[in-house]
Symmetry: D3
């Protein structure tokens, strides 16, 4: 059985090291996108996983596909066509200088995709899990409808559906997000969010928490999860908790709320020295999917997901290139960073 993820895969153009855009005459050219990042993580955990999207039939589209194939993601359901690979420019921050992301994703092949591009019956053959994020339906009205079709098809086939709210204010307004995501979330079993998404998308807040200081309010997050569960009947709500000390140093932990039990499980908290934090949330989602799909207990699941995403912060690029053994070792407590010979 396989996992299917659906979304956009973008070319990521990043200056080397800590150079700013305006100092650069060279870009690291890698690929990333929320749902593709999840797919790569799962492939690295030896899961059968297929990424669904649309990419142009030129060499840049091929580069994007090859970036997934090399890690073992199935790309046979990626439709070829349209004219452009979406791009995001990514400048790495340091100390008090934040990282900066400039999107150039409008008019990409997937953003202009049509319903007839995707045959969900065929795509979901052999699948037991479907994952998407709030970015996908934000790409265009048509893609939102495609996502809805996918959700319905998944539901009919008894496929588990997970969704990371992933609000992007450059793509749509809070109101648009609320409307569309409300429709989609009816089909979602497992909802993943960061500290801000619930508020941005649904207006549900973790009271008394200032995301710029990072002081956490555990009760607040439990309340957010409860509200979300009640509104959409989620089985699980997972919330990542990032405390930004600087562009280099973050604390990182998460909570898993089991709505049936009405109980929240908090992970341990990691003090992270950041190499690259883009894709951190996606690596959490992938860790959670792995853990729940492989019947981890709730506390173990949240620890696995947080350990996986903790490690992502030490890795360049969007993809979380860590093995199952490495995540388990960290989840089991070896955080000393001692050399493995």
């Amino acid at each position: 059985m396989k996992v299917v993820t659906f979304g956009e895969l973008m070319l990521r153009l990043a200056p080397e090291g800590y150079l700013r855009f305006i100092q650069s005459n060279k870009f690291e050219a890698t690929f990333g996108g929320a749902e593709a990042n999840v797919a790569v993580s799962l492939a690295n955990y030896n899961q059968d996983v297929s990424f669904v999207s649309k990419l142009p039939n030129n060499e840049i589209g091929q580069m994007a596909i090859n970036s997934l194939r090399q890690y073992g993601v199935n790309t046979s359901h990626i439709v070829r066509g349209g004219n452009r690979v979406g791009i995001y420019y990514c400048e790495k921050g340091a100390s008090q200088r934040p990282s900066k992301v400039i999107y150039d994703r409008a008019y990409s092949s997937i953003a202009l995709a049509k319903k007839e591009d995707f045959d969900w019956d065929d795509i979901f053959s052999g699948a037991d899990w479907f994952h998407f994020t709030g970015i996908t339906p934000a790409l265009s009205k048509e893609v939102a409808e495609i996502t809805l079709e996918a959700c319905k098809a998944a539901k009919e086939k008894g496929i588990v559906v997970s969704c990371d709210l992933n609000f992007r204010k450059k793509l749509w307004s809070n109101k648009e997000a609320n409307e569309t995501m409300s429709k989609l979330c009816k089909y979602v079993d497992i909802c993943i969010a960061n500290e801000e998404d619930a508020k941005d998308v649904f207006g549900i807040e973790a009271k008394d928490t200032d995301i710029n200081t990072g002081k956490l309010n555990k009760e607040g997050y439990v309340s957010v999860a409860e509200q979300l569960s009640q509104r959409f009947n989620f089985k699980y709500v997972a919330i990542t908790l990032r405390e930004s000390i600087s562009a280099n140093d973050n604390n990182w932990s998460a909570m898993l709320y089991n709505s049936k039990e009405g109980k929240a499980y908090f992970s341990k908290k990691y003090a992270i020295h950041i190499v690259d934090r883009v894709g951190g949330g996606d690596s959490f989602g992938a860790g959670l999917i792995y853990a729940l799909r492989n019947s981890y207990k709730n506390q173990d699941a949240i620890e696995f997901a947080v350990a996986a995403s903790c490690l992502k912060h030490s890795i360049e690029g969007d993809y979380n290139l860590v093995s199952l053994e490495e995540v388990k070792a960290l989840a089991n407590g070896d955080a000393s960073g001692r050399v493995k010979r």
Copy 2:
């Protein structure tokens, strides 16, 4: 007095060395575009030159502007706005493998520019020369109209107008090009073209010449120039003559037709070992503008323009980074490549 050029400035993303796109995880990030390339050449010859375009108000737009400022091009008439810097991906060919260019320029700030973005009265203040190429009006109907406005304004002010036909089949059809360029060419004094443009745009042919073999038919080119001159009343027609032996080796020469005299001047021919041939035609145009604007005799003008563009083929990137002295030295006959200490 200054020269004004108008067009698109794109981000050029190129794999290192002779790597193919699908082998690359790093792109050289430079900037280029036909009319901007001409502007940089002229600045390198100590001409006062202003490049006019529209670029987004973000760091990528700023990189584009800085790439011009560093060589002394005036960028004060570049309008900031819109959402994207057009992109072209450029893979360098070798031997029998051709170079490959993939355009991702649709929806760029300049392609979506509006008439009201440009005040040609202000822009042309202090100008005595206006240059554009066939790429600019091909960007959109609105930009074609803007170009027409610019041509009219130039004509009224007695500004010399030069145009490189520069046909791009990915941007428009031969028919569209013919219609639009026919309107614009009425205002043009000096027409620049390569071996194929006259045919692609106006259906005017240099008979008996196969561009893939590079055997030249001098009489044919003179006839093309005559036909062009007669149709549009050009003062000068310049045609570059490229013989492609391989992706590494080209022969390069050109012809300048003085329509008043009814006489054609052929340059000497250079056997070039290519470093980067993109921008070769633009560097020719810039050389010709320099020479004519500085009252070179016809034969000297075509020799200067060809020497300038010969040198361009030895330089990485779109911009022709050579000095007046270097062009003169080559035009005067020192082609031995001996070390200058």
Copy 3:
């Protein structure tokens, strides 16, 4: 139906550009090996192809596998185990300075592989073509026996067998090669060789040809092909003809001998400006396999194979990263290297 190739995949460590080993503190790290190179070529021509080998269960082995997966080669029959990935160090020559290859491949996982590592019945399921080269049986006596088993299994299943003689004097003596290859060639349908292999392995000579001058003796090569066909009952013998002018410039052509017809087909000859010639022979083999497997006529087949391998010389690394369309374009005569926009 799929093609199966069997051999070693090595880590290739190469200084940047034209640097010598003793000037370098950085190595390009790519992967290559005769049979893997063939597999990548075929995948690039959209053929279903599986590469069979043994690689250690560590990250270096994984890098090797990923290098194939990214281009779409099936790696599911690569056995994981043993301790090392074979290495070759490769220094690029220029002008009169030859390229230099230093092998460090002894004791690699595949060289120490055991018969029980490979289940040819399973591997050949769905296959219609099997390819190996003379390097594989030279790795060890056990691997020679494994290759023999593979040949027998292929024969039983009616799978076409092709073999590139590929003599490597660092791996075995002429005598050892003769003995082992004589046994294997009984099962081979299509034999591929360069100008020297037939002599080195079987003592069969192309008279009057000095490989250091590159003056070809067409009759001699036909005679070599005839002798080979008669001794081993090959259906086809293909011989590549390299004329080394310098480390930068080679002439390249080939001959296909159809033993049933008793007729030789010579390709056109390309004057190549070399980017990287390693893997040139493998890209020829892959081109030939593609052409014969897709029922090209004899002359068309040899033209396709030579065009494919001509292009390889313009590409960095062992793998021939060209598409079917690109090979066809060159085989059909467009060798001018003009920019594709």
Copy 4:
């Protein structure tokens, strides 16, 4: 109205990353110099600014000029002549290993400049601010006199004069510095210094402060500022306060003393994880000039200057490549380093 800065612009040669000189065979080649750094900062804040210096009429001199032009600094008053661009070699330290700077700046074009090279009347046309540092007069006796001429000309024209004491013991002795700077400071309105300069140049000390421990003695600094103000009649004295924890970690704050009020304003203190601290002081000076020139209140001015220079520590190279918006955001309190999308 414009700002004028005067000094040396050097080629900065730096090994990549944390490599030591003796491990390197490649240098990052950028440009920097105290007064040029200030000019670039001001250009980045959209101020009209002209940098005055002398640079050789060769390509290395041109590189230096282009490095300024790309950021919008006016370079039309840079005199071309002399033989060399001064150089400094810069090795980045880490942890307990300090950064190392080796100067090779003697005999540079500016160090050998003559009075007649500079026409201050012309240079100061349209200027309302003049800035130099203690490095400029230390270059040579002649340059000291040129600086004095500039100060006098500025004073006559009612131009504000700011000076960063910037003591360099490799360029002159404390005694020489004292003599020369005492003459120049008569014309200075705003004096900028780090914790050590006042002592090194004028023997004025911040008592009870050990610069190697970084424990600050606020009262001591106020007393230093008072003494400086009294001796030279400065309107403002600004002192930067660096606490060096290691080569990677510094605390950074500053004080602005308003001599008319007799009151000191201390900024907040930033814990900085350093990318590159060279140019930190210059970026502070530029921030202060911007703030005072744009009529910021005293507390706001020192906060702006410290925020600007805090950000500089996160940027590679001498130039502080941050925008007005970025400095304001940090000065207004967002130091969390969260990604800007």
Copy 5:
């Protein structure tokens, strides 16, 4: 008088920056090995030092030798022969992700060396110190015997012998190590170990210390040193004390036990921000050899050795490229990392 060290010198292949192996297509290619690292350190302290080993007679062997010669190590006793330079692949860890080392050193020239390759009488001519580590005898039984011969020869000539236990579980079992090292340690005067070696090799433990938490138990280490001294009659036992907080941050100190006095000297402790920690122990050994060979007092010796190895953590590669002056400056207390101009 000179120092002699004996062991393996390996090619170290490392991805750039924090890239993982499976993201890399380029390796930094440097050289390292415990005893060679010690030799380079000593050469940097202006000691006459000769490194003894066996390396193949090809360019890779030559690269290894050149890497030592450039720092002034005498390589005239390195035997040329055999087929391979041992390799280790080294991936740099960050935050909670540990560094990873993959060895590919079997069958190297030194591992297959023979007794007759080394003439210790000749090698030790002019020597007063011999150093090896536990890695050397672990390479093969023959090399263990060669090491024993060297120790005996040294003892006969009155040469001081130092040994770093350096247990490598990939090379031999604890039992094998115990047997062989017990024989060799009879000839050793000065024993160096990290927190784990004494236990791994001889079963001697520092009770109550968990190496993953880094909480130190000073009494435990003194007891370990006492036990070691008593068993092997060492004059000195030095133990390095690493507290691993993360892959980026370690605390580092050490203890020197003088067995004659029965007294332990603890160094100050450094909080290190790591650039590259490989070779940290070797740089400690070299510092200790320097200090003891130059008659430093016990406390001064351990401070010098710890300062030297503290600095190593800030340097890329195995070799500790610091000067005597730099070590002394740190040992004397300047740990602020302030720029040296």
Copy 6:
């Protein structure tokens, strides 16, 4: 017995690939200088060789020394002191664009060296050959006198003296060169020159040869050699003959004139595709010294020297990093550039 060479060793700063200076923000940092280049060549041919110079006692000076030590050159007679390492900037030409060298060597440690820095008695202990070029005495009057002292000391000790005229117009006038070189040449046994040196230094011409066309006039060169021999009593005069076709392609040959025999020996001529031609003449000198010092016959000597320098053109940097075996292979006729496996 050893060879001694004396001169300047400079830091060579070169943009990557074919980039122009004004496109670069990174320089390859290597070292070179005529006499040091000769020393490295000789060390590569296993000759005992010592390079004598003066270099500052800082890390840049140390880098220079290490660059020689790594190839086995004895650096123990390099005096440390003074303030700067001379620099030359080197931009690689291509096709019709010539390479460009900008010198920044004035005031270097060696240019300001004093007689008392060098004890020639000590330096020449164990020497049988002394080599310098016309660059060394051109550095300063004092260095010219030091060179004269060295020549006299060499003569007294019966040491062979060779000199490459190496005229540099940036360092001195033809008249100064003539005066000084005339004094020095009295002590010279073997004179090396290129096509222009004899004329530039001594006004002796090879008639009817235009160095920009490269058409050679063999009789003219013999006449030049005769005149030189007669004027200075040289035993041998060797002249290199370069025909510049373009910056990429040169023909290369040379002549050795044996004045005792009154006979000239011309080498074969190589058509070279250039990687880096700087140091070509020095590599010829080194080849000639090797050949004559090892008693090659005249024809063999000139073939060895030309083959050695032909290979240099294929190598990046000043140093000719080729082995004896490689030069011999080419001199013996294998110029095909076929891969060595």
